[in-house]
């Protein structure tokens, strides 16, 4: 009986080979298709304002240095970082964590009298998990500041807890508009929100890309819906209501959406979601023969997007409130972590740096650090930081990137 099973298995496998052979025979080979490792990269293009108009970056300003003057003294303290460190969106969380880590390590190396510990908390980007973790952060008396949570959903779920504890919660990446409308006094956003990103990128598509018809596709998450809504409102009639498509985070097959997009032949497709879905989506669009410009938001701006989508990601445009790294920062980061800084690494670093500067200036309690943040004004690696009463930045610009 045993031998028979093996024989059947062999027979089955060889039969499969034959069928694959027959099926494959009708396939024509495409000449000139290259199989070499692509060297596509996400490269910054231009900084734009809410009207989609290019803005020149201010030059010649030195970013704040977490090392300070090296003479700081402080009791044992810690700052926390919360975000997805494992799970499908871990890359973004790890980028932030590494940015903060770099700032803290530079500070500690330069200031023997003031050693700050960085405590990291993994929320997996999940609001439910973040709700369980938030009390742990708040209950730790040594922790006086938090960089995070990373995503909008989890920030929304936990913001009240941090507000009650008076703990600065400076997010390096949560861009949902409503977060600053909750009345939290401890919320600070280290970058522009979706309310800025949406209109900026929409106007950019309208004016600079000269798009006459755009399909807006969202991934049904808090982030994806919010950004897509802002884009649709600004685009107005250009965003064809007949091809407003909602997909689901976690989906990998977009054949129905591709068929729908194809039927409307738009000039551009805007995808509002994260890279794990954007990569297969753009690949299936291209395979399906859709040549419209692929435009997307900050959730997709990650090297993984290019790695997963390959040649299909070529010429995709990505908007991001996140700033590109300076060469000096990129070198330090690469030396320490063995990889180039990713999306939000600069924001993580800048927010970490501001906390270090606060601690060095004597703000060693939660209320003092909160006060320091409120009145802070200074240049960082990514941009100038100064906050309004609700925790939004006073100047908010968006970067456009391109895969090339």
């Amino acid at each position: 009986m045993h031998g028979r099973a093996t024989r059947s298995a062999i027979a089955a496998s060889s039969a499969v080979l034959v069928v694959l052979g027959i099926a494959g025979c009708s396939q024509q080979s495409a000449p000139g298709e290259n199989s070499a490792q692509s060297d596509l990269k996400i490269v910054e293009q231009v900084q734009i304002d809410q009207n989609g108009e290019p803005v020149k970056a201010e030059g010649g300003l030195t970013p704040a240095d977490p090392a300070g003057d090296g003479k700081a003294n402080c009791p044992p303290l810690s700052i926390a970082m919360a975000g997805a460190l494992t799970g499908p969106d871990a890359a973004l969380g790890i980028n932030i964590k590494n940015g903060v880590q770099l700032a803290v390590d530079k500070h500690n190396a330069a200031n023997p009298g003031c050693q700050v510990q960085l405590k990291t908390f993994d929320t997996e980007g999940d609001p439910q998990k973040a709700t369980q973790i938030a009390p742990q952060i708040v209950d730790d008396a040594f922790t006086i500041g938090l960089v995070g949570p990373a995503f909008s959903g989890e920030t929304k779920a936990t913001g009240g807890v941090f507000d009650q504890a008076g703990l600065v919660a400076a997010t390096a990446s949560a861009t949902n508009v409503t977060l600053s409308e909750q009345g939290w006094k401890t919320f600070f956003r280290g970058l522009a929100n979706d309310g800025v990103q949406g209109p900026s990128v929409a106007n950019y598509m309208k004016n600079s890309l000269d798009a006459k018809k755009v399909c807006v596709v969202d991934d049904s998450t808090d982030y994806g819906l919010g950004l897509a809504q802002a884009v649709r409102e600004t685009l107005g009639p250009i965003a064809d209501p007949a091809c407003n498509i909602s997909v689901k985070k976690g989906d990998k097959d977009f054949s129905a959406a591709v068929t729908q997009v194809k039927g409307h032949s738009p000039d551009a497709v805007f995808y509002s979601g994260y890279y794990a879905e954007a990569a297969p989506f753009v690949q299936q669009l291209r395979d399906g023969g859709v040549t419209a410009t692929f435009v997307t938001g900050d959730g997709v701006k990650d090297p993984e997007f290019v790695k997963q989508a390959g040649a299909s990601s070529k010429d995709a445009l990505l908007s991001c409130p996140c700033g590109p790294a300076t060469k000096e920062f990129a070198d330090e980061y690469t030396q320490k972590f063995g990889e180039e800084p990713g999306t939000y690494s600069t924001e993580g670093y800048d927010l970490g740096t501001i906390m270090m500067k606060g601690i060095d200036s004597g703000a060693i309690t939660r209320p003092a650090l909160l006060d320091f943040f409120r009145n802070y004004q200074g240049q960082g690696v990514a941009r100038k930081y100064q906050w309004t009463d609700t925790g939004e930045l006073t100047t908010t610009l968006i970067w456009m990137y391109k895969v090339q």
Binding site: M1, R4, A5, S8, A11, A12, S13, A15, V16, L17, V19, L20, G21, A23, G24, C25, S26, Q27, Q28, S29, E33, S35, A36, Q37, T86, G87, P88, G153, K156, N176, T178, S220, D222, L225, G226, I245, S246, V247, K248, D251, K252, D253, F254, S255, A256, T259, Q260, A279, P280, Q283, D287, G288, E304, K307, Q308, A309, G310, A311, S312, S313
Partner: protein, 345 residues
Amino acid sequence: MVHDCLGSTACLAANIGFDLDGFRNGFWQLTIDGLAWGSIYALVAVGYTLVFGVLRLINFAHSEIFMLGMFGAYFCLDMILGFVPSGNAYDKGVLLTVFYLGIAMVFAMLVSGSAAVGLEAVAYRPLRKRGAKPLTFLITAIGVSFVLQEFVHFILPQIIKGYGGSNAQQPIMLVRPKTQFHVFDATVSNITLVIVAAALLLAVLTDVAINRTKFGRGIRAVAQDPITATLMGVSRERIIMVTFLIGGMLAGAAALLYTLRVPQGIIYSGGFLLGIKAFTAAVLGGIGNLRGALLGGLLLGIMENYGQVVFGTQWRDVVAFVLLVLVLLIRPTGILGESLGKARV
């Protein structure tokens, strides 16, 4: 506006559409794409249904056997055949491509098959020896499923560099989707063709193996009455092993076909939803019934594809499970009923 109802169900419900025109216009395309998905569901569903027939156990770890098959296929292409992952499609010509795919499929079947047999030996056999209750098996199955997922998530990256971890594997694409011919103005791509043909062949082979061969008769005998079957000289342990082997191998084959369709899907959590869908397909057709699993898989794939156009893409999973509930309301044992154990020579 949308901010008021972010995340609330009322807001999502507003997004249900009834795009009957889209359904009518895309009918054939949807049917063909759904057939390809259904074939993959069907192959995985066989694993659930055979094990249930023989052991009365829902092997929830089967989705992870499928996931290991994807990694197996990837490993074969990457390490053994030397393809460099790049996200771009290779072009090796038809025959070579088919040859490589065949090797990768056999390898994936071996990986999944041995994983399934290993799983049975490590997790279920000791329980059986101790006469554990059915509930214990079920909990064990769920536990093993987590163990395998987290193994690929956290431990595999330590063993083989660049494998597993939080991100999907960088795709190795051997086949670029290309339209082969048209059926009622629907395009049939080479990938769809390969998936459906390979799945059909494997399904027929499995059906023949179960219904026409000696060990197939053994499987049916054990399913029908384990004690009598043992008295008649059938080795129950061996039958169980072969059952897991067949289920695992089909899952491995399905895994390769799935990665043709979704090259970016090779990730530790990639088997979970597909496994649930395949299980749904098995229940839909009548769990324990081989042909039921095949029929259930195809039906689920097609209906789901229709549903996502009519109601909106984000409702795809809802459509699948509502369909299951409706069918079970009318036919509690599934469309074809539980018949693996029924006497049929």
